[in-house]
């Protein structure tokens, strides 16, 4: 778990590789230690070995959507905070995710200020 000295750790999963990489870079510049995946199955397979405080997941991905991935990931990482990103109007799926504990949902194109602000707020929450 994050201590005041270690950088917060974030997981970014989006099948849109260029976007996943950009977001990872933006978070790294903001002081996060980031791991990035463009395949949700790979993220899930590696999750057991990974420690992370935040996960930023795309909703619509091949093989497994972000809502299902959240359900799996939060089993082994109950304290992690999850944020979803979506390019689609998937109200029902989003409602399910929020009910299951996802903290925030962002529409694409991702409003970066809002993303960083939200992550910061969640980080304060984790510290307390």
């Amino acid at each position: 778990m994050t201590t005041p000295d270690s950088p917060p750790r974030a997981l970014v999963v989006d099948d849109n590789r260029p976007l996943a990489e950009d977001l990872a870079e933006i978070l790294a510049l903001a002081g996060y230690d980031v791991r990035v995946f463009d395949d949700p199955r790979e993220a899930l397979a590696r999750a057991g070995d990974l420690e992370f405080d935040f996960a930023l997941l795309d909703v619509r991905m091949p093989h497994m959507d972000g809502v299902a991935l959240h359900a799996e990931l939060c089993k082994g990482h109950p304290r992690a905070r999850f944020i979803l990103m979506t390019a689609y109007s998937e109200d029902d799926r989003i409602a399910e995710a929020l009910a299951a504990g996802v903290r925030h949902v962002l529409n694409k194109p991702v409003p970066l200020d809002e993303l960083l602000r939200t992550m910061e707020a969640l980080r304060c929450e984790l510290r307390s």
Binding site: N16, P18, L19, D22, L23, E25, I26, L29, M85, A87, Y88, S89, N107, K108, P109, V110, L112
Partner: protein, 396 residues
């Protein structure tokens, strides 16, 4: 509606040349009764609150309609039933459709006309011995049959305009749905590449040397244009999202304020509100959809003012009408061209350089989902007036 339609109906009801001829012969004798028929017709309307309700222009409109009805009666007995006749009759029928006169009143009205013409013939026979002599024997039966048949034809034409309107509306709804699907697809698919452009721009800005004015100017432009793409996509997605109606108690005044907040008024355009002070605080409508309707109607009014010289005014109004909420938007623009009026609320119909022509189609979808209607007519500011009615907004 085509002349073929008339030919087909005439054949079906057995209306022949001899019927046309005798109607033309009867006309001078029946004409004196036309005013009486018109008065009985409108007395029946005045006695029916529902029928009267469609005449929103009050007594002045009724007076105009009376003279139109008298003119129409002349047409019934003109003896000339050609393509021009069909065109004129269809136009009257479409007026009924436009003012949303329920079909039962058309049926009732035609019944009064039929009865009036038969009575007029009886009176003329009693009054004019020459006519009585002319119509002796089987000819009287032919005359009466001709009256019945032409009334049947008139009714068929009027009902056909309702059928054509229904078909056109169904087509419009399907068109809007197809456009919505397409807009949704395009909108969603564009969001991903747009997201990459935004994040890349963000990163680029962080790495660019500071102090280069040209670089700052260009990255700023890129950012602005990307934001514009984002907002176009949001409007496309709004079209795609045909949300089910969610009525809740809505405070109309603040909702209008909110809707106006994000609108950018061009210089010189003055927007004012005329909200009935007696307007009840809460209306039961779908808040999001009402806001969307207001934004679309005002945007439409702004566009109408672009080419207007002189005073450029928009007035948004809200009032209660029975149990309905009435939203009005008036502008001082150039008004609506008569030939465009019928297509005004159709998807993709536009006379403007800018925009897709979806705003008013969406307005109609919103109002109709509430069980209401939307109309456009010449307004008090010299331009157009749009009236959207939301029935049941104040139902107890």
């Amino acid at each position: 509606m085509e002349y073929d339609f008339l030919e087909e109906v005439a054949r079906y009801v057995g209306f022949r040349d001899e019927h046309a001829r005798i109607l033309a012969e009867l006309k001078p004798s029946l004409e004196p009764a036309f005013d009486g028929i018109v008065e009985r017709f409108y007395a029946a309307i005045m006695a029916s609150p529902d029928a009267l309700a469609v005449f929103t222009g009050g007594l002045a409109q009724i007076e105009r309609q009376k003279s139109l009805l008298a003119g129409w009666l002349h047409g019934v007995l003109s003896g000339r039933y050609d393509a021009e006749y069909v065109r004129m009759r269809a136009r009257i029928g479409r007026t009924h459709v436009r003012i949303k006169l329920d079909q039962r009143y058309v049926l009732g009205g035609m019944s009064l006309v039929r009865e009036g013409l038969h009575d007029a013939l009886s009176a003329a026979l009693a009054r004019e011995p020459a006519l009585a002599a002319q119509l002796a024997g089987t000819k009287l039966a032919l005359a009466r049959r001709a009256i019945d048949k032409i009334c049947d034809i008139e009714l068929a034409i009027m009902m056909q305009t309702y059928a054509e309107d229904y078909a056109a509306r169904t087509r419009d709804i399907e068109r809007l749905a197809t456009l919505g699907q397409l807009a949704g697809f395009i909108g969603h698919e564009l969001r991903n590449p747009l997201a990459v452009m935004e994040t890349s721009l963000h990163l680029l800005r962080k790495r660019l040397p500071e102090g280069d004015e040209a670089v700052t100017r260009h990255t700023k432009k890129l950012g602005e244009q990307l934001a514009m793409c984002g907002s176009i996509i949001s409007s496309l997605l709004e079209l795609a999202r045909d949300r089910p109606l969610e009525r809740s108690p809505v405070h109309v005044r603040p909702l209008i304020e909110q809707a106006l907040e994000n609108l950018i008024l061009p210089t010189g355009v003055v927007l004012s509100q005329e909200i009935d002070p007696q307007l009840p605080e809460e209306a039961r409508v779908d808040a999001k959809q009402l806001r969307q309707l207001i934004v679309n109607l005002i945007s439409n009014a702004i566009d109408a003012l672009v080419a207007t010289e002189g005073a450029r005014r928009i007035v948004i109004g809200a009032a209660r009408e029975g149990d309905a909420l009435l939203i009005t938007v008036d502008d001082s623009g150039g008004g609506i061209a008569e030939d465009f009026r019928a297509r005004l609320f159709q998807p993709l119909a536009t006379t403007r350089q800018k925009g897709l022509g979806l705003g008013l189609a969406l307005c109609r979808r919103i109002v109709e989902k509430h069980g209401g209607d939307i109309r456009a007519q010449p307004g008090p500011l010299g331009g157009a007036r749009f009236e959207a009615r939301f029935p049941g907004a104040y139902a107890s």
